[in-house]
Amino acid sequence: MSREYEAVIGLEVHAELKTNSKIFCSCTTEFGGEPNTHVCPVCLGLPGVLPVLNKKVVEYAMKAGLALNCKIASFSKFDRKNYYYPDLPKNFQTSQYDLPIAQNGYLDIEVDGQVKRIGITRVHMEEDAGKLVHSGETITTSSGSLVDYNRAGVPLIEIVSEPDLRSPQEARAYMELLKSILEYTEVSDCKMEEGSLRCDANVSVRPKGTSEFGTKTEIKNMNSFKALQRALEYEIERQIQVLEEGGKVIQETRSWDEAKGVTVSMRSKEEAHDYRYFPEPDLVPIVIDEEWVESIRKSLPELPQARKKRLMEDFGLPAYDAEVLTGSKALAEFFDAVMQHYKDPKVVSNWLMGELLRLLNASNKSIAESPIKPQGLAELLNLLDKGTISGKIAKQVFEEMFNSGESAEAIVKAKGLVQISDEGAIAAVVEQVIANNPKSVEDFKNGKEQAIGYLVGQVMKETKGKANPALVNKLLREQLSK
């Protein structure tokens, strides 16, 4: 970004709530059913139907609101947001307008070691719409479009931030923290790829040092953290360029084109809707007493920031490790579970951040789906500590465990991977290697310290990695110094 400009960013995040049934009827919220099988007269908005609010939705929204440091409204209500679109069964969305369930919260994000407080304007509840499948590129250029209403009526919360974010990095950090909080509280499964967590950004730029907001654009269709960051970077640069060239930024909605890496105009403000909000007459207001709020507050789990602090203080982990481990609740829990059976936190952290995440990513599995369970990893690490296997073998065993689901001991036994700590056996190999590699021996004797590394490698190769590396080193040096 140009030196003279600063960006002003606010995010609107939609999260699908993890309830079993929809917001106003008892249909399942399960993802991926045959089109239009998870529907009933109510979520299809058939003539004569009425909504009945799912109490769980209110609890989940309260939980999210409390986790985001919001005040929970003792009185809130639903409103109708009227607009026409074929994926919207009633042509209005039941949402909350002037009296949302939660308001005035904040999140403390950390970017480059700096902590910054981002205001949360509001959290409100609403229903999701259905999904359109076009025969062509867009609804207007298609010869036909199909609608799947399975998603219609799935409960959402919308979390609106204050325009406190100043860079794409901050926006990303905010979004990542928000996601992990929603995961921790278990109100949403936050699967961005399934659309259960979606984000729109309002962005404008202004000369640095000024306090007035520039004209903003709204960016939609960013379905990953990377996309969010790239889209904002592009859009900020685009707006600066417009201003630099003496132009004016137009208030409009833009779409992020992931493939081309650009934002494109969707519709301008002139076509913008007058939603004609008014109180939903088919639902009674939501009255929440202090007791209910407190019971929800008590049910809140340890949140990522508190957990990160605990990992650093109780286990002495570096900030980076604690951040990575607590970025996902499942990973943090995995860590805690391994620590029940093992003593060295840093070793565990290394294995989780390194081997485990690598294999999970490569096989597209979530932590919950990991074939290696915490206790299994602890067993492996204990074998390593006892010297039964070498570090190198341990990685091999780990991969084997991941692929087969077998225990470390079983694999070590079956494959004969037990470390050779018999001095006599190793000494024989060492002698052989020295005899076969006169050049390296020569180099070492001439003071080339690294030559010993090669010789160690040769011994390991001969023993198929099973030789105890410390012993190999010791014996090699003894032999060479003769």
Partner: protein, 488 residues
């Protein structure tokens, strides 16, 4: 009296005594329909096969000596905005001409469980908007007392069918007077229950905060019977009250001694037909004779009710009717080139002029820049009107007013002047705005046409209404008069 002229409780006696079977009774009604329907035109759809099947079931139960509901085996009919599974529900609109709901309205379910025999679905003003049934997209319904006159609206079909002996009772819906006004014009009993007493689930919405389902019957006893069958909490309707339903039959005592009746002077203002006024005043005298305490009172915000109503009802209707866009069901324009013109053409062709007028009024009233001036203001007026009623009910058990300002008018008389048509609701809309219950009962005839009397009670005060109405009925015989259909 002919069988088709009797009340449900009278016919119940005959069924129990096996003087007649439900199948025979059902056939009596279809014969009567055959005889007069071409004059009245109150039905949109007949469900004869189902009706006879149900009648046979009830007959079998009666033959086995099983306990049956007081309404079991009695032929009735439903306004065509009540959803019936497998039977088209049109709202008398081209938009839903061939729409078949996959579910039953809660009231339909309840009546079905009670053993009601449904003869068919009844004509109405399109989507319940109107006061004459001239807005039906199919055909107008005639007043059985004078075929050149309207039966009232929007439940013209339900009121005319009961008055003409084409059904023993019927269900209608009342958003601003749509049960009471046609009941008054057709000389039958019509009740708009307290908002929240009867589930609205399955009633095709016009204005959600005002709509309420209620019965048309030939006398107050039947009215209490039908209400008993349909009232009570429904988990499918969050606005339905979770309160015990009283035994309405116990309220049917011909005694109003000491009952305090308030007569709000604003309902007797200019525009009230002198003969109607006279008949209502006679009724007041009757109550005095029966020992009720009558007092004139004032409801100062009455004059603002009509404008407030004609902002709130259209506002809600503009949103409720948005779903009729041709995408999922109902009428669709087939020639449109793209989605937006499909929406527009579908709605242009699918809705009649009155529906469009109200959608536009409501859209305007809710649009940004006008919301505060119209919608919000109307809500404030609504609160003031409610307060008028709250105050009145600290002093009175019942309020008494005319139901309509005049007897049934002629076809076409008011169709060119929407505002004149809206004036027709002047005595009834306040009740919907306040959410209180009100009943219209026959109180005399003016030039051979029925005149109705409106009794109003506090929320969930239906028992008081029944008591007051029943006492009047016990000493009069207006409710026993039957029109000579086809004979002028």
């Amino acid at each position: 009296m002919e069988l088709y002229e009797l009340t449900a409780h009278e016919l119940r006696e005959k069924l129990i005594k096996k003087e007649i079977s439900s199948v025979e009774l059902t056939n009596v009604f279809y014969s009567r329909i055959e005889a007069v329907e071409n004059h009245i035109k109150s039905y949109v759809t007949f469900t004869k096969e189902r009706a006879l099947k149900k009648a046979r079931q009830i007959d079998a139960m009666l033959a086995r000596g099983e306990q049956t509901h007081p309404l079991a085996g009695i032929p009735m009919a439903l306004k065509d905005n009540l959803c019936t599974q497998g039977v088209r529900t049109t709202c008398s609109s081209k938009m839903l001409e061939n729409y078949i709901p996959p579910y039953d309205a809660t009231v339909v379910e309840r009546l079905d469980a009670a053993g009601a025999v449904t003869l068919g679905k009844l004509n109405m003003d399109e989507f319940a908007m109107g006061s004459s049934t001239e807005n039906s997209r199919f055909f107008p319904t005639c007043n059985p007392w004078d075929l050149e006159r309207v039966p009232g609206g929007s439940s013209g079909g339900p009121s005319a069918a009961v008055a003409a002996g084409e059904a023993v009772y019927s269900l209608g819906s009342d958003t601003g007077g749509s049960i009471r006004q046609p009941a008054s014009l057709c000389g039958v009993v019509g009740l708009k229950p307290t908002y929240g007493l009867v589930s609205r689930y399955g009633l095709v919405a016009f204005a959600s905060s005002l709509d309420q389902i209620g019965p048309f019957t030939r006398d107050v006893t039947d009215c209490a019977l039908v209400l008993q069958a349909i009232a009570g909490h429904d988990p499918m309707d969050s606005t339905s009250a979770d309160l015990p339903v009283p035994n309405y039959q116990e309220a049917l005592i011909p005694d109003v001694k000491g009952l305090k009746i308030g007569v709000p002077k604003e309902y007797f203002a200019a525009g009230l037909d002198p003969e109607v006024e006279q008949l209502v005043k006679q009724a007041i005298k009757k109550y005095e004779e029966l020992g009720a305490i009558i007092e004139e009172t004032s409801m100062p915000h009455t004059e603002y009710a009509l404008p407030a109503y004609y902002v709130i009802a259209p506002a809600e209707c503009s949103s409720n009717l948005a779903r009729y866009d041709g995408v999922r069901y109902g009428y669709r324009d087939k020639d449109a080139e793209d989605i937006v013109s499909m929406f527009m053409k579908t709605r242009d062709e699918g809705f009649g002029p009155e529906v469009k007028r109200r959608i536009m009024l409501g859209t305007y009233a809710l649009s940004s820049g006008y919301y505060d001036a119209y919608y919000l203001k109307a809500l404030k007026v609504r609160t003031l009107i409610k307060q008028d009623f709250d105050r009145a009910f600290t002093k009175y058990d019942v309020l008494l007013t005319p139901t309509t300002t005049s007897v049934a008018f002629k076809f076409g008389e008011k169709t060119d002047d929407p505002l004149a048509m809206y004036q027709n609701d002047i005595c009834t809309v306040t009740i919907n705005l306040a959410g209180v219950p009100a009943i219209s009962i026959p109180c005399g005839f003016s030039r051979g046409l029925p005149v109705g009397l409106q009794l109003i009670a506090k929320p969930f005060g239906e028992t008081t209404l029944f008591r007051a109405a029943y006492a009047f009925e016990s000493v009069t015989d207006y409710h026993r008069q039957r029109p000579q259909v086809g004979v002028k």
